[in-house]
Symmetry: C2
Subunit: 217 residues, 2 copies
């Protein structure tokens, strides 16, 4: 069977915000895929197993098996999907607008999420709630300021883009760590509008194959 006929496989964890990003893109582009749950908590983290290392040497989710290769890192995966399955577009065609989308995305992907991910909070220990709140609030201050320059209905104008794909899972994390979102009215407004869209709903952590019954929507 040729690589293009094989359904992609997403290695994912229901609550991983980076996994959710990729699920949104797959849903937006209507790409059918199978999902393989990797539990980041059970057995000391199944992503660290020898079995999973053979799939993804980076030992992280998400990983996407597609077109005969296995990709990791959510931004790399999403941009690969954008370049090989461009409809509908999640990056604008104008280079300056693309840069705006990437600025917002990268600020979340590099500037916020890594500082509040599971393994870092485990290392931080008892002060983890305060630590997560600090980095999410601090990061959202900058995101709110830039959105005031770029936003329409969504993060950059009126088209859904990768910036939106990164924003919604980060707001989900913010709520999980009880961050006060009142100072970020633009983020609140855009997040609400995005959660109306089907691609953001079907990919939601509350609706995945590995979502525990008590967290199901």
């Amino acid at each position: 069977m040729s690589a293009t006929l094989v359904k992609p496989v997403l290695y994912s964890y229901f609550r991983s915000s980076c996994s959710w990003r990729v699920r949104i893109v797959l849903a937006t582009k209507e790409i059918a895929y199978d999902q393989m749950p990797v539990n980041l908590v059970k057995d000391g983290g199944q992503q660290l197993s020898a079995e999973f290392q053979a799939v993804n040497s980076m030992q992280q989710v998400p990983a996407l098996k597609i077109d005969g290769v296995t990709l990791s890192q959510s931004m790399a995966i999403m941009q690969y999907l954008e370049e090989t399955r461009p409809n509908p577009r999640l990056l604008p065609q104008d280079p300056k607008k693309r840069a705006q989308v990437r600025m917002i995305s990268d600020h979340i992907v590099s500037g916020i999420q890594p500082l509040q991910n599971l393994s870092v909070l485990q290392k931080v220990g008892e002060k983890k709630m305060e630590w997560a709140q600090h980095y999410i609030s601090h990061g959202f201050q900058a995101v709110e300021r830039i959105l005031q320059q770029t936003a329409g209905c969504y993060c950059v104008g009126d088209q859904v883009s990768l910036a939106d794909v990164c924003l919604v899972p980060q707001v989900y994390n913010a709520e999980r760590y009880k961050v006060d979102l009142t100072p970020y009215p633009t983020i609140i407004k855009i997040n609400k509008a995005l959660l109306e869209l089907e691609a953001f709903q079907v990919s939601h952590p509350s609706r995945q194959p590995d979502t525990p019954p008590e967290l199901r929507a």
Copy 2:
């Protein structure tokens, strides 16, 4: 004067690894620019000043004023330069190879550097050396494994790419935090080859306008 005739201005700090990435790309593409130093240590961090916030609402370096806009986030800046000044290319044309380049870049940009940057280490306090070593070593283990699949002379094959641009400043940080690099022979070899190239030399932290005399090469 039209935007394209105005020399770009890079807001940069000599020792910021994210700033160095952008300086490498500007040098590789032979783009003339002016540099405005922003001292991340002096005055409690000049990037936090109201004056600099007016330049870059994200209050971070690097920021690049170019073509009438100000961009921030190193990956967003570098990809903007790649899309508007494609010669020489720093992303391969094949989508799978581009994904490899982005996987390595993003692993450094999102998975390593944010966890050992100045503001995080200040928050970590007295255990900062051990903390930085932990995250750099852990990240380099994954980078070394993936490089064993992708590398030629450089990170992905024999062409310099954004992955190389991200790698060299991260190795510089590793050395600064006295990380034992022995377990990463591929990283060592590629870093050495890259440091032979002029674009990596002229952009080096030891040769910037704001490099203190005692750290000059």
